[in-house]
């Protein structure tokens, strides 16, 4: 096992940030921690990277105990905190240089690890980090976390603020790091990214709701789900919310996802109802649940 977490709990003054959390991550596994803001994700990352003590429970990373062997852990893991701490007044290259030096390595030695991401910010390597765009900073922070070739990589919302193309490239890169037997623990608010993990843990209010492969988690979705569209999205959402048989309605791009309270859903009846609300071009089609649907249903 690369990461073992056993019965970890942590409270701040009157908030239970983590309650009896347990899970294991295998070597080379890409494991996702998925949960809403304030669910306890960052607390978990900080405990595993030895920056914070748990109140109860035990955890090991690469076989080392997070309390007694913290020095070994710090040397061998990479951590990209959600609110990262780049040196704003150092240039792009100087930041990277700095992180390489404190881990006793050089940019050249592990360049192949960061290349795919770094080439995108390399044209600006003499620019101060403070003057980069939001997403460019995020990419630099990732390079800094990777430059010493860690055995385990902790990424706390690494792609927040990163554009769709770069996100795709970023995940392709994570898959390549995995091939090199690097274990990755990653949290993300993007549900399409959750689907790319080997396994995910859904967490909420400091508790794990479910741990499984993304495919299995989606299969557990309890209800048939329908794509509904009409000529006016805002009116459509308001009308569905006022419908007597509604269980849930969530916008999903050009459609909304609708679920019904009843066991037997009647599409014709819904269409008539929406027409009575002066909506037109109404389409109702069955669709399949995504991780995002599952997540929202669990968090409801």
């Amino acid at each position: 096992m690369s990461i073992c977490v056993a019965n970890i709990s942590k409270s701040y003054k009157n908030v239970k940030a983590l309650q009896d959390i347990s899970f294991n991550v295998k070597v080379g596994e890409l494991f996702g921690i998925i949960g809403p803001d304030g669910a306890g994700k960052t607390t978990l990352f900080r405990i595993l990277t030895t920056l914070l003590f748990a109140d109860n429970g035990r955890a090991t990373v690469s076989g080392w105990d997070v309390v007694s062997d913290y020095k070994n852990i710090r040397k061998s893991v990479g951590y990209m905190p959600g609110r990262f701490s780049l040196y704003q007044d150092l240039t792009v290259e100087e930041n990277l240089q700095f992180f390489a030096t404190i881990f006793g390595t050089t940019i050249e030695e592990n360049y192949d690890l960061i290349k795919d991401i770094y080439v995108q910010i390399e044209p600006f390597k003499d620019r101060r980090a403070g003057k980069l765009s939001g997403g460019m900073k995020q990419k630099l922070a990732l390079c800094c976390a990777l430059i010493h070739k860690p055995k385990v990589l902790f990424l706390d919302e690494p792609t927040t603020g990163v554009d769709p193309v770069s996100r795709k490239e970023f995940w392709e890169m994570l898959k390549r790091l995995q091939q090199k037997n690097i274990t990755i623990l990653v949290s993300t608010p993007y549900m399409d990214e959750a689907a790319l993990c080997d396994r995910i843990a859904l967490i909420q209010d400091g508790k794990i709701l479910e741990i499984d492969t993304p495919e299995a988690i989606v299969k557990h979705y309890p209800k048939p789900i329908y794509n509904v569209s009409a000529n006016n999205m805002y009116k459509l959402i308001n009308s569905l919310n006022a419908y007597q048989y509604i269980h849930s309605v969530y916008p999903f791009g050009e459609f909304v996802h609708y679920t019904d309270k009843r066991a037997e859903f009647n599409a014709v009846e819904l269409k008539l109802y929406l027409e009575s609300k002066n909506l037109s071009n109404i389409r109702i089609e069955k669709t399949v649940a995504t991780i995002e649907d599952t997540f929202m249903e669990l968090a409801k």
């Binding site: 949960g35 809403p36 803001d37 304030g38 959600g82 600006f124 003057k131 980069l132 765009s133 939001g134 997403g135 460019m136 995020q138 990419k139 919302e157 927040t160 603020g161 990163v162 554009d163 769709p164 193309v165 770069s166 996100r167 795709k168 608010p189 993007y190 549900m191 999205m233 805002y234 959402i237 969530y250 916008p251 999903f252 791009g253 050009e254 995002e292 997540f295 929202m296 968090a299």
Partner: protein
């Protein structure tokens, strides 16, 4: 100028030294429109937005916002618009109520008006229980919703939202968009950037910036037709790497 165009931009450019961050962009935004301002990291969105809200002087070009010229009437623009920045939104070390009072004051609202607004806002957002808590202790999504309301405390004609839902969880993100719809429905123009492509679908029109230039601008439906793809994510993937 047509009275319906609340934003008019022509050849707007911003240079930093010899680097051109925004390269001669032109577009118009109508009253009550939800305008999605998309682009890859570093494409120039935030830089362009800063010129439109009157806090950064353009290198060249023309722009009027709410009928005021960005070169000569930046102060008037600031009073007629709301702005939610990509990074800073509220003071973490002030309570919810204190933040509302503070920003109400900045926009010159009377004490009475601030008290009224404060009560309405807190109720609408369901923040009664945390009204006297520090904003820093709130989940990100709540902060963003509060921040949006605060940016509209002076009833502006236009709001500029720079990645308001970045990092926000799926449910809160959708609640945020309901607030955007509601504002647009009341005639407020919404100018918004996002990296969530499902959110691009919720915009009336969308522009996509690549390396400082606007490379596409249309309704989501037309853009999908133009690029012969099924969703906005694929439109973006086709364009963004230039």
């Amino acid at each position: 100028m047509s009275i319906h165009n609340v934003i008019q931009v022509e050849g707007l450019t911003k240079k930093f030294g010899d680097f051109t961050a925004v390269n001669a962009i032109s577009f118009k935004v109508e009253k009550g429109e939800i305008f999605g301002f998309l682009g890859a990291n570093g494409a120039g969105k935030t830089t362009a937005m800063k010129m439109l809200i009157g806090i950064s002087i353009p290198s060249s070009g023309k722009a009027t916002v709410a009928g005021f010229d960005v070169f000569t009437h930046a102060e008037s623009i600031k009073k007629s618009i709301g702005y939610m920045s990509q990074k800073f939104a509220l003071y973490d070390d002030l309570t919810v109520k204190e933040n509302i009072t503070f920003f109400g004051g900045i926009y010159g609202l009377s004490r009475k008006r601030i008290r009224q607004k404060s009560a309405v806002l807190i109720e609408e957002l369901g923040l009664e229980k945390v009204a006297n808590k520090l904003v820093g202790a709130l989940p990100l999504g709540w902060k963003q919703k509060l921040s949006f309301s605060v940016s509209m405390i002076h009833d502006p004609k236009i709001v500029f939202l720079d990645e308001p839902t970045g990092g926000v969880d799926p449910i809160t993100r959708r609640q945020f968009w309901e607030m955007i719809y509601k504002a647009a429905n009341q005639g407020i123009t919404v100018f918004v950037t996002t990296h969530y492509m499902d959110e691009a679908e919720y915009c009336d029109r969308v522009s996509i910036m690549v390396n400082g230039k606007i490379e596409a601008l249309d309704t989501p439906k037309k853009l999908k037709e133009q690029f012969k793809v099924a969703n906005m994510n694929d439109v973006f993937l086709k364009l963004a790497r230039g």
